[in-house]
Symmetry: C3
Subunit: 158 residues, 3 copies
């Protein structure tokens, strides 16, 4: 078992099945050379379906639930990367996370929500490999009413 | 005539003139090495002006009209790439599309709208070169009331 | 004194202290090889705190104030790059700016706001190095009510 898989086990993290929302005209992970570009991912349940709760953070979804949803998005990103790479130990470094919160009017504590994903990546990969640039912003709508979505980029070993 | 130009002809696709919204303090396509970074593009008419209809998808603009607008954005991206590269056959692969829908409150079928661009790219470039990572999200406002905007990145041959 | 520092002096631009919003689970600039990925930056005052005014452009914040805020974001990006690189002369070229405006309902003159950052980058780095791809879009909410946020990417010399 790989180093990152071992680390996930230590943290008690079970990855979901990769996002399965039917046939898609794009790839969850697009690999070119040493770059893995990650499509926008939503919070998933264990089966790879959209996790509950849905709705806007600051209204139907609390900030704490939003944080947990962002953490689930992080798990979904890892599940897609694992499927694309075979082995998460091939992740050489994180580059960028773009965190999008389905924000209720007036809810602007967006970084606190997106931290759910950033902190997961740092816990799993450590402060060097896991370090990344990031934005955390409030969108008007997200697909299917998901509370959080993230896209990003990682560097990989061949 | 190049392979992609021939393919556009087979599909009956006529590219617009490149986006012409007056002098801009940025480039429609920024090339560094083998990367072509595409600025946010709007749906264009044949002359390179903003296409009708304008407005929010889910309100003034229907989901189907939004799909067609996203397809027009795809044509605008190709027009800019052709101008920058000289020959669309120099596109070696698509990397990323970031699809932004001017979403009416409560309209969250954003992927169905952005599919208009993704499917165009796949029709024109085929499933290998055309494959890309993607996000489809709902913005509060887009320039000049455009219903859809996309930015992205492609890989090119020197 | 480096070339870009000299140029900043000629333009009368004093960079703020790098953004200081407390400990962050991400980096303001993430460097991999010749790429410097810039996290989402907000307008800063001289001390690196969030600049006034806050609020939505088109409501509490005028378009002209939004332009000035975008210019301050440009200064914040340069301050972070300087801290990360030691010397701004190491910037070999700009790649991408993604400009996000905290847009009041109906305010869609977003490019005019984001021009504040694009024009600063062109003034400081000139038309060749400073050229970049760009999007200018309207977000529903930005962190702490900031009127503008930008993320981006630059190329650097080793």
């Amino acid at each position: 078992m790989g180093r990152i898989e071992t680390r996930l086990g230590e943290l008690g993290i079970v990855l979901p099945k990769p996002m399965d929302l039917g046939p898609l005209p794009f790839e969850l992970v697009r690999i070119h050379g040493d770059r893995a570009i990650l499509s926008g991912h939503l919070p998933l349940d264990a089966e790879g379906a959209l996790a509950q709760p849905l709705g806007k953070v600051g209204a139907e979804v609390s900030a704490e639930q939003g944080y947990q949803a962002a953490r689930l998005v992080g798990c979904a990103l890892l599940a897609s990367l694992k499927q694309a790479l075979g082995d998460l130990d091939r992740v050489a470094g994180w580059v960028r996370l773009f965190g999008m919160v389905n924000a209720a009017p007036g809810f602007n504590r967006l970084p606190a929500v997106v931290n759910g994903c950033s902190e997961l990546i740092l816990e799993v990969f450590g402060p060097e490999v896991g370090a990344h640039a990031r934005s955390a912003v409030g969108l008007a709508e997200l697909p299917f009413g998901a509370p959080v979505e993230l896209e990003g980029e990682a560097l990989i070993r061949p």
